[in-house]
């Protein structure tokens, strides 16, 4: 009985240590391997609605079908962010500006996703 508990405790620690280790290695790798973004793709409910280079500053507003709800996406100094939105949670507005390949800003209520991609054409996934 006690030995089973003992073994379970040891397994707990092994589990926690290996998960933390894997996550940390993954995070470090992704920090070292991250590439600067070249352009961003904006999708609404899974469909692409815009694709822009990050090298030219601009501001675009996407309206909901009702014509009232909106998200304003701004590209500035090679970073992209959502600067204004009518969604109730405003999480997209509070997300920090993104600039690396694979990073995303999501507006859940409006189904809007902004993703940054690197030089190569087309989406590929970072590890």
């Amino acid at each position: 009985m006690t030995s089973r508990l003992h073994r379970a405790r040891r397994n707990d620690i092994l589990l926690i240590a290996s998960l933390v280790f894997l996550a940390l290695v993954g995070i470090l790798l992704s920090l070292f391997l991250r590439r600067d973004g070249a352009y961003c793709v904006i999708t609404k409910n899974g469909e692409e609605v815009g694709r822009f280079s990050l090298s030219a500053d601009r501001e675009i507003t996407y309206y909901e079908e009702d014509g009232v709800g909106f998200n304003t996406v701004r590209i500035e100094n090679g970073r992209v962010s959502v600067t204004a939105a009518s969604c109730p949670d405003k999480i997209c507005v509070r997300s920090r500006a993104i600039r690396y390949h694979g990073e995303t800003v999501v507006c859940l209520p409006h189904g809007l996703v902004v993703t940054v991609y690197g030089d190569e054409e087309g989406p590929d996934i970072i590890v």
């Binding site: 397994n11 992704s30 989406p123």
Partner: protein, 170 residues
């Protein structure tokens, strides 16, 4: 009190507590700002306690009732979908690992915490049709493991205290 009344009272109380924990969690800043709606799953403290004291059926009932109530009170169908995916996958994993007897309550809670996040990320990937969201699983594995461990330690104290009063099978 009859055994049945005692059990019903306990499960009702668990639901309320789980609901309160979900509410408290909704006030905390998000774990990953870029993917809205992802939660650590504080309510898992209650779910795992019920799982150990009664079983999978009872834990699933409390979990489901908690989800429905959260939805009715501060409902948003999309966040409800996240919570549902997270809750189902984490409860099934916890029940499986509890049965396997590989880990103590803490390890079981950690698998629940990590898979809770995995369930939500999978929903977000499908919902937004964006594989790059999967990248956030790295940071969520870290937070899920730590939150799961803390919840597991707290739950093991709770279970020890409550099992003399409530446990219905030995």
């Amino acid at each position: 009190m009859s055994e049945k009344t005692k059990k019903l009272t306990f499960l009702a109380l668990s639901c309320t507590l789980a609901l309160m924990l979900s509410y408290i969690e909704s006030l905390l800043p998000p774990v990953v700002t870029s993917v809205p709606g992802i939660k650590m799953g504080l309510a898992n403290l209650v779910i795992i306690t019920v799982l150990y004291l009664y079983g999978l059926k009872e834990a699933a009932a409390v979990s489901l009732l908690r989800l429905v109530m959260t939805f009715l009170l501060f409902g948003n169908p999309l966040t409800a979908l996240y919570s549902l995916a997270g809750a189902v996958i984490s409860l099934l994993a916890m029940a499986l690992f509890k049965r396997l007897r590989l880990f103590s309550t803490v390890g079981v809670s950690v698998t629940g915490g990590v898979l809770h996040n995995l369930g939500q990320i999978l929903v977000a990937i499908v919902l937004f049709d964006s594989l790059s969201i999967g990248y956030y699983m790295l940071i969520l594995t870290l937070t899920g493991t730590l939150a799961g461990a803390l919840i597991g330690i707290t739950a093991s104290f709770l279970i020890k205290r409550l099992e003399n009063v409530y446990k219905h099978h030995s």
